[in-house]
């Protein structure tokens, strides 16, 4: 193809990408670009109004996603993407808010925020890209690094049992919990479309290859080799109990949509709670003024406080 024709090529996802920042910073063989492509595809499938979508991410390789997506996007501090997204959603309930961040960002430093947001069933959608390591800072141990795997802060093999991300989130009370790998691009995209339309806390874990640090430190080959390994070990089972399917170095990766319920969201509970109060307090200003006038008159009995200044 000639150079002139190359220049005119417009990728169908270019309208959702910040073209002045492509090519992105992710390594060759990294699954993040595919995850962003699946995200863009999922949003198109869901037919949401793109002007009313906000994307929040934390710090890390996945945290850079916000900088490449052409929607209202925010790149916040490490671990605090979820409360930030909560603030956006509660201040403007018409927005569809996505949190796109990594396993370390959401479950290590941000672990507390995640379980509380899931408990409250706040109406945000969280996509957690799990690459089993802290990629951006050079390959340190993550709470999802499998037992025995090597990382730069576990030079003799990881001696900590990892978290099971879908298990925690399901136990905390999320409305929708799913796990996919980067290989299953279409199912991931469909899951994202479902989450965008679904109320309540929606969580999707994406098992993604990290070519430069995780694969290299664990003799995994290239990004493509990791993808092939994921593909070979993946089993799809929507009926699996999410608390019983941890991720290890050798066992099967169980993927699927494990939880899909319709529990009421935080805001619905608020509206429910204040139903009676709104009626009772319709004349609120008048009630308060009367109450306070009576209180003020009472306290005038007690003199002796000097009027200072």
């Amino acid at each position: 193809m000639s150079n002139k024709e190359q220049h005119k090529l417009e990728h169908p996802m270019d309208d959702l990408l910040r073209m002045d920042r492509i090519p992105h910073i992710w390594c060759p063989g990294c699954g993040l670009g595919s995850d962003v492509a699946a995200f863009a595809d999922g949003l198109k499938k869901a037919e949401v109004n793109f002007d009313k979508v906000a994307v929040v991410s934390g710090i890390g390789c996945t945290g850079r996603v916000a900088g490449y997506i052409k929607l209202d996007s925010y790149h916040t501090t490490h671990g605090r993407a979820i409360p930030f997204a909560t603030g956006i959603k509660l201040a403007n309930r018409d927005l569809t808010v996505f949190v796109f961040s990594g396993d370390g960002d959401l479950f290590a430093i941000g672990g507390n925020h995640l379980i509380h947001a899931a408990r409250r069933n706040l109406d945000i959608n969280v996509i957690c890209v799990n690459n089993f390591i802290y990629g951006m800072t050079g390959g340190q141990n993550a709470p999802t690094t499998p037992l025995g795997a090597y990382s730069s802060t576990a030079p003799f093999g990881n001696y900590e049992a990892p978290f099971n991300l879908v298990g925690i989130t399901a136990a905390a009370g999320a409305n929708y919990v799913a796990r996919w790998t980067t290989v299953q691009a279409r199912r991931l995209s469909q899951s994202i479309a479902t989450a965008a339309k679904k109320k309540g806390f929606c969580f999707i874990e994406v098992v993604s290859p990290c070519a430069t640090v995780f694969a290299r430190k664990n003799k995994g080959g290239t990004g493509l080799d990791l993808m092939k390994e994921f593909r070979n070990r993946t089993v799809i089972d929507h009926k699996a109990d999410p608390t019983q399917i941890p991720l290890t170095m050798d066992d099967e990766i169980v993927c699927g949509e494990f939880v899909n319920r319709e529990d009421p969201t935080f805001w619905e509970n608020v509206q429910n709670g204040i139903k009676d109060q709104v009626e009772k307090n319709a004349d609120w200003e008048k009630i308060q003024s009367e109450k306070n006038k009576r209180l003020y008159k009472k306290t005038l009995k007690y003199e002796g406080s000097r009027d200072i200044g």
Binding site: Q6, A37, L224
Partner: protein, 89 residues
């Protein structure tokens, strides 16, 4: 596949064909598209792009069914597919 009936009087079923477009200078030679194309349309070429990687090319373009899996799985937004309908006879 052997067919016993001619679907709606046509000689073969209507299929969608795809034309693969590759934005060569974005490619980082990861090989995802080559590996995961269900019809084995793509291969890595020998030429170099601006960054020194080998971009893919459509070796068996006639096999492409425009499933667009390459478009979704490419991490660099470097490949996409345009559908073209086959002529009905």
């Amino acid at each position: 596949m052997k067919q016993w009936e001619r679907p709606f009087g046509r000689s073969k079923p209507e299929t969608v064909k795809g034309e693969v477009k590759i934005v060569e200078d974005r490619c980082k030679g990861c090989g995802f598209c080559v590996e995961y194309c269900p019809c084995d349309v793509l291969e890595l070429s020998d030429k170099f792009n601006k960054k020194g990687y080998h971009p893919p090319y459509a070796e068996k373009l006639e096999e492409c069914t425009a499933c667009k899996l390459c478009e979704m799985i490419c991490p660099d937004f470097a490949i996409f597919v345009i559908e073209k309908e086959e002529e009905i006879d």
